[in-house]
């Protein structure tokens, strides 16, 4: 298998009739084979110029198409690419694909094969491919943005600065072994400290971006939680604008959670209504309660609802943080007397934007004046704030960065105490192994290169 295999696929999606579909051919030296299928002379096709042509099955015209020719290396994946813009009827697309594959040197592409070739031909790097994947499969604007950012190499840039800081600190250590005579103790120490600090700052910053960018950002969940009959399902329906959940005056109507997509300012959320929390002998209900608590634990946005007029035990909420606490029903009759609740309500009542243990509180009587806009504001505010941290959401990156943070933390704990520079360097190399998983392998030559370029070395 020495020659590049030529591949073909419909790049604009199959299975649905659309106005225009794009069939892409990738490989090398295939124009001559494909020439009989087109009315224009393929061998003289102009690069990057739209060319109208008929598709021929023998002498029969089967479609009229626009061709775009991207000769290597200036194409998406570095190979010769021919795009056939044809009518997007599913049967039509299939017929053209069959036609192109009828030459012996052409086959249907495997999933991702175009991009794989882009990776191999260095048209893209791994993080760009990851970005493309994110972009193509994004289901919200944020994922779309990060996909684009990866594709443009921005995220890679910030990893590059990590790599640079790593090389700088490693160089600073190496200076102490091989070149101490050249730079002297004072410059050595100063450099070691400075390079350590800038590496530490970069790792802390990256880690922050990871923490704020938990998986929740890709599929952010809003969980409604609270005692039975507090009005969770009512709020659920109000937020959605439909009567999706069954609402009755009977406590314990919702026994397991139900969920729906909810769009706020074009961001997609998953809204979950959960079983009311109470002591119960009902096995199914108690299982539902357990699930509700678990959901709340991992949720992006937690809304606690309760009726201030009811007497509740708040034990289950004691250790939980909420983003929003809603007092449903009228507060007029609420005279206090519930200690646990009183403690949580010491903050002034009203919409708050500060981070507190109980989170912003607003008092809403869902039946009288449903301030849905206020609730939506709170949710999108939190979401936007997280986005402003530039979170990292690709799981490979998250894992790597967490590992880097962990090993660097160990290194940090000995950095100021360990007298033996060789031990320090050895410990640091374990950080290096983790960093290389994210940014690629750093060789001894890279480090020496850095030293020679930045320090006056040599007797």
């Amino acid at each position: 298998m020495n020659e590049t295999e030529n591949i073909v696929a419909c790049s604009s999606g199959t299975g649905v009739n659309v106005a225009v579909s794009i069939i892409r051919v990738s490989g090398a030296d295939y124009l001559e084979d494909l020439a009989p299928f087109f009315s224009t002379n393929l061998l003289q096709i102009q690069p990057r110029v739209a060319t109208v042509s008929k598709v021929l099955l023998g002498t029969k015209i089967i479609d009229e198409v626009v061709l775009l020719w991207f000769p290597n290396p200036n194409s998406y994946n570095g190979e010769d690419i021919l795009e056939v813009h044809c009518h997007g009827n599913v049967i039509n697309v299939q017929r053209i694909l069959d036609l192109l594959c009828s030459t012996s040197k052409m086959r249907l592409a495997k999933p991702g094969e175009f991009t794989e070739r882009a990776l191999i031909n260095k048209k893209m790097n791994l993080s760009q491919v990851e970005g493309l994947d994110l972009l193509l499969n994004a289901n919200n604007i944020f994922a779309l943005d990060q996909g684009l950012s990866l594709l443009r190499g921005e995220l890679r840039e910030s990893f590059y600065s990590l790599s640079k800081a790593y090389i700088n600190h490693k160089s600073a250590l190496e200076l102490g072994f091989d070149f101490l005579d050249d730079v002297g103790d004072e410059a050595f120490n100063k450099n070691l400290e400075a390079s350590f600090n800038s590496l530490r700052d970069i790792i802390i910053h990256l880690n922050k971006r990871v923490l704020s960018g938990s998986a929740q950002l890709i599929e952010p969940e809003i969980v409604l939680i609270g005692p039975p009959n507090a009005g969770k399902s009512t709020l659920f329906n109000l937020l959605l604008g439909t009567d999706r959940a069954i609402v009755t005056p009977t406590a314990g109507t919702t026994r397991d959670y139900i969920s729906e997509d909810l769009y706020i300012d074009n961001y997609r959320f998953r809204l979950l209504d959960t079983a009311g929390l109470r002591e119960t002998g009902d096995a199914i209900e108690s299982q539902g309660i357990e699930r509700a608590l678990k959901l709340a634990e991992n949720a992006f946005f937690k809304i606690l609802l309760f009726n201030p007029n009811d007497k509740y035990s708040f034990k289950q909420f004691e250790d939980m943080d909420f983003d929003l606490c809603l007092l449903t029903h009228s507060t007029e009759n609420y005279l206090g007397g519930n200690d646990e609740l009183d403690k949580k309500l010491t903050a002034p009542i009203g919409p708050l934007r500060e981070d507190g243990s109980i989170g912003p509180i607003c008092v809403v009587d869902l039946l009288d004046t449903p301030r849905i806009d206020l609730i939506q504001q709170e949710i999108s505010h939190k979401y936007l704030k997280l986005l402003s941290f530039d979170p990292i959401i690709i799981s490979r990156h998250i894992e790597s960065i967490k590992k880097i943070e962990r090993t660097f933390d160990q290194y940090r704990s000995i950095f100021s105490q360990e007298q033996d520079l060789a031990v320090l360097a050895s410990e640091f190399s374990t950080v290096g192994v983790c960093i290389s998983e994210l940014v690629g392998i750093v060789s001894a030559e890279d480090v020496l290169e850095n030293i020679f370029n930045n320090f006056c070395i040599g007797k």
Partner: protein, 611 residues
């Protein structure tokens, strides 16, 4: 007409090690062919052996039965441990040598070898039929194996100001280029350049104005069969002084006179060993640079001012030297000069340093683009021992990069084309905590054993290993109950018994001092070399283990053998990568990884196949 098994051309540090080890196989007839008038293993540049990373190489050679350590001791006039405060793993021995005594010591040792001939004739031509035919100005010789250790003599060209002449060294006659001798040996496209400072008259300098660096009597001798702190020469101090703004001004205002900067020299020098011109022009803000003033011998009239290597015209060199504190009245006896020379493309060599296309021809030393006597000697040993083993139809001796600096160097050399002279740095090793001076015996014993020789060094290695095992087991087992005074003195906190092994690993403990103390307590007498090896090995055991685990994945993958031919045929690899792979012909993933310019995608693809 004379026939030899092995002929070595060049009697420098590489050549003499090659000859010495080959001759240890008694049945082989070996000859060194060297230029008349040039002493064996002379030191034309720095009068010192060892240094960071290099000290480890000298000890590795010594334990492998080499010459260098022994000669360095016999000629040693100042001993120092470098990096003393930076941790045991990176401490290295450096010995200042007497320039007369060193070649004499080597000459004496080689002179006693019965199966070695030293022939002082200039080689005129070499041809290869069944065997190599070497024509000198006077005779014709035949050799089954040929080792070229010709240093800087390949098309060597000397520069001192505007004066240039052919030659590899200021005091020796020139030889021709390799091209006229061998058609199929490829040279590195770049010519290399090195330089040396002017030599000063010892009576014209004032050392009272400089900082003295006396010899350290506690540094262990290089050769293990010498007494640990034995000294064979009277000891001398080196002196430290500095350049200043006047010095740099002289150089900066004479840029047009510098062969390095006016285009006269095309070769590439090493960035880690810059001339004083380099320093002046590349770091215009820095005027103060170290100058180590090193005596070149006990009775020598000359000193070596390390740090001011230069190829400026003589009179400017003198002006520059005189601006330095303590050198105001200095006389230059020999001016500094630069030499440009051809080096071979080392990626054409295999792990035995033989040419892949002609496995009976070996290259070692500076001709391979390395710098330093130690690097040259290490290569000479590898070429010599493998030429011998090959003649005896035995397995080659390849040192692993995980347990020796020689192994690091050989692999680095053959897996990459260099664009500047190669020097060993500890940074080049992935396993620095283990490749130390103190445990060289443990590291080299296995290799030496494979040679199946039974010399004094072999007996020493066996004994060292046995003792080490015995004491290691003992220290891992025994505990002691320290009284409060001992606890306080060593700042240890302990309720009852503590294992010695665990005490040695405490961060606040100097393992050397503590182990010495412990053996005194239990009244054991143990050799200083063994004590050192035990103490440091235990101290680092935890860290080494940890680093091994962290690197295990990389190492495991690195040692996987790969079929480069397969890669070249593969259609998943870019054309450019294929070319590099074809050129280097890597045998393991590690070698592939170290080839410059191999793409991450290629590595991922290959790693995927072999995981």
């Amino acid at each position: 007409m004379k026939s030899f098994d092995i002929v070595i051309i060049g009697g420098g540090h590489a050549g003499v090690e090659a000859a010495n080890i080959a001759c240890q196989f008694n049945n082989l007839k070996v000859a060194i062919l060297t230029l008349p008038g040039v002493p064996l293993a002379s030191a034309p540049c720095n009068p010192a052996i060892g240094g960071v990373g290099k000290g480890q190489v000298v000890r590795e050679l010594d334990h492998l039965g080499g010459l260098m350590g022994k000669a360095a001791d016999l000629a040693g006039i100042q001993y120092r441990t470098l990096n003393e405060s930076k941790g045991f793993a990176v401490q290295s021995t450096r010995i200042q040598i007497d320039k007369e005594a060193y070649p004499k010591a080597v000459g004496n040792m080689l002179g006693k070898i019965k199966n070695l001939s030293i022939i002082r004739e200039k080689v005129c031509s070499i041809s290869k039929a069944e065997t190599f035919e070497i024509n000198t100005s006077e005779n014709r010789y035949y050799a089954k194996k040929l080792i070229l250790t010709v240093g800087t003599f390949l098309k060597g060209k000397l520069h001192c100001g505007q004066e240039t002449r052919e030659g590899g060294r200021i005091d020796a006659q020139p030889v021709g280029d390799l091209g006229s001798i061998f058609q199929d040996v490829k040279l590195n496209k770049k010519r290399f350049k090195t330089g040396t400072p002017p030599r000063l008259d010892i009576n014209s300098i004032d050392v009272r104005k400089m900082e003295a660096q006396p010899s350290d009597p506690n540094v262990e001798t290089m050769h293990v069969l010498h007494g640990t702190s034995e000294r064979f020469q009277p000891q001398r101090s080196c002196f430290l002084t500095y350049t200043n703004s006047d010095t740099m001004q002289v150089i900066r205002s004479n840029k047009e006179n510098s062969p390095m900067f006016n285009g006269q020299i095309e070769g590439t020098g090493a960035r880690y060993c810059p001339s004083i011109e380099d320093k002046a022009y590349r770091y215009p803000d820095k005027d103060i640079h170290h100058v180590f003033v090193e005596p070149e011998g006990i009775d020598s009239k000359t000193v070596y001012p390390s740090g001011i290597s230069s190829s400026l015209p003589k009179e400017i060199q003198l002006q520059m030297v005189k601006s330095i504190k303590g050198l105001e009245a200095a006389c230059i006896l020999t001016p500094g000069y630069a030499v440009e020379y051809d080096v071979v493309d080392t990626t054409m060599l295999n792990k035995c340093l033989a040419l892949k296309s002609e496995p009976n021809l070996y290259f070692a030393g500076q001709v391979n683009g390395t710098s330093g006597y130690e690097e040259a000697a290490g290569q000479g040993y590898i070429a010599g021992v493998n030429a011998a083993l090959s003649l005896l139809d035995r397995e080659p001796l390849v040192l692993n990069r995980n347990d020796s600096y020689i192994g690091v160097m050989i692999e680095d050399l053959i897996s990459n084309l260099r664009d500047e002279p190669y020097r060993l740095f500890t940074a080049r090793s992935e396993n620095r905590l283990y490749i130390r001076e103190d445990n060289t015996a443990l590291r080299m014993r296995e290799y030496r054993k494979r040679l199946c020789l039974d010399l004094d060094i072999d007996k020493y290695l066996d004994r060292f290993q046995a003792d080490y095992m015995f004491y290691m087991e003992l220290l891992g087992r025994v505990s002691f109950e320290p009284d409060s005074e001992i606890l306080a003195h060593w700042s240890i906190t302990a309720d009852t018994k503590i294992k010695i092994f665990d005490v040695l690993r405490l961060s606040q403990i100097n393992p050397l001092l503590f182990l010495e103390f412990y053996f005194q307590q239990i009244q054991f007498v143990i050799s200083p070399r063994l004590l050192r090896c035990l103490a440091i090995s235990i101290k680092y055991s935890g860290y080494i283990q940890k680093a091994e685990i962290a690197n295990a994945k990389v190492h495991k993958l690195d040692s996987r053998s790969i079929d480069w031919k397969n890669l070249v045929d593969s259609d998943n690899i870019s054309f450019e990568c294929k070319q590099r792979i074809q050129h280097i012909q890597p045998e393991t993933f590690g070698q592939l990884r170290r080839i410059e310019g191999i793409r991450q995608a290629t590595l991922s693809a290959v790693a995927g196949q072999y995981y």
